[in-house]
Symmetry: D2
């Protein structure tokens, strides 16, 4: 179950960055962003990353592929608050067989707030696992 | 655009009641339930209502029908808080042609907290509007 | 309960516009954006509007004020889909006494997808309703 | 960062079970429950577990304590769908110093759908980490 690697808090270990702003709806009664609200941040970053490398997720889905999340882990270092501008950094950690792993670092004004890992399956038009596309494997660090 | 009727704060005007409990994730930094989180409460009540009259929403969807929300309105009277036990009361206000309207009253310990109205279209297997089924029209007050 | 005005589908009736993109997490099993997910879009636009007129919501809250939603209504014209770029247009419809109303128009590529109205109370540091600030009243159309 | 233990798929390893039903709002355009929506399920189960052992979370918070999530991990085995009745099983894995770990198993009709771990800090009225209360430590397996 465990991710194969530990995401670092060094922005130089990440190849892509997407900036977003915390919505009020994402806060909770502790006055900070609810821990579940981080997952859509990772997803939004993932979608922008795929677009940036010429493979919009929407297009991937229209071609009959899905990239379901099979594992997720997040490590919350310091809270995010309403209206914070968050830089979500992303790297492709591994891409082997029919799965790949992404690492994330969330920062506000260069201060690390959280790290995370998502592991994905690659499911083809027939609903079966298929190999990671070559362009994705080429982006992996290992 | 406007709903044709005003939902009352008298529980006797409602034919169905579904009880749920506020999740912590549904609160916001004001310390109360975020206003957007009420809409899934209405939906959950609607689903249980349809089940109670022998037409589970899941079954309706498997038969190729959708009941998309075309209008929603909510009136927030007093805040809901974490862990509140909420009684969501529902009535079928109107069911004419290809649309129907539901009214809702949300109470905590018999105190009104919010009222709401949802208006729905009825969309058939061909993706086109179809008449409200007879069983639904029969449940309408008017 | 009803809003005092009908939001139009003419962008020229709106004074502010905020662009956002639909997240995958906001879609539902009908393949479109869930109706509840529109409310955080309105809120995000509201927050950017307040910032644009020099009164960031965060600052308003730090001064002890809240602007709770007391009524919301939305009219869904055509569905929003994953990855759609949505222009949320906003106008201040009314600002009288301790309440104000905002109108919204959501468009994708200039095509109207939804309209909405939110009515807000103005609550001061003592937890009691207070008059709309002058700068807000000055922005109202009426 | 990693959790100290692996949650099993054997219900006998769990001491508490809370049943809930999937909302339509929790599904996404893949037709299944969005991966982020599982986290509020864990939280709802956690809240009911605390109530079941005589320490309602609401009461804990009123006494000035918070139990923030510091790590979360989830392993998605098979999708959840709209209207599924989900049994969320919970066990207290560890409770040492100012942190504790909970393990979860999500089943539908006794079939494992996901496992998860949440690690929590214990923060006292002064906003500083404090030791796990004795009643919580007593519930831990180790």
């Amino acid at each position: 179950m465990r991710a194969a690697f530990e995401p670092t808090t060094d922005v130089r270990d990440y190849r892509f960055c997407h900036r977003l702003r915390v919505r009020f709806a994402e806060t909770d009664a502790m006055g900070v962003v609810h821990h579940a609200a981080y997952l859509p941040y990772l997803e939004e970053c993932r979608v922008e990353f795929l677009r940036s490398v010429g493979h919009p997720f929407d297009e991937i889905r229209r071609e009959g592929f899905e990239l379901p999340v099979v594992d997720i882990s997040a490590h919350y270092l310091r809270p995010l608050r309403f209206d914070d501008v968050v830089d979500v950094h992303l790297s492709v950690a591994t891409a082997r067989g029919a799965t790949f792993e992404l690492g994330y670092l969330l920062c506000v004004a260069d201060e690390a707030r959280a790290t995370a890992v998502s592991r994905h399956g690659v499911v083809g038009p027939a609903g079966r696992p298929v190999r990671c596309p070559d362009w994705l494997a080429a982006l992996a660090r290992t």
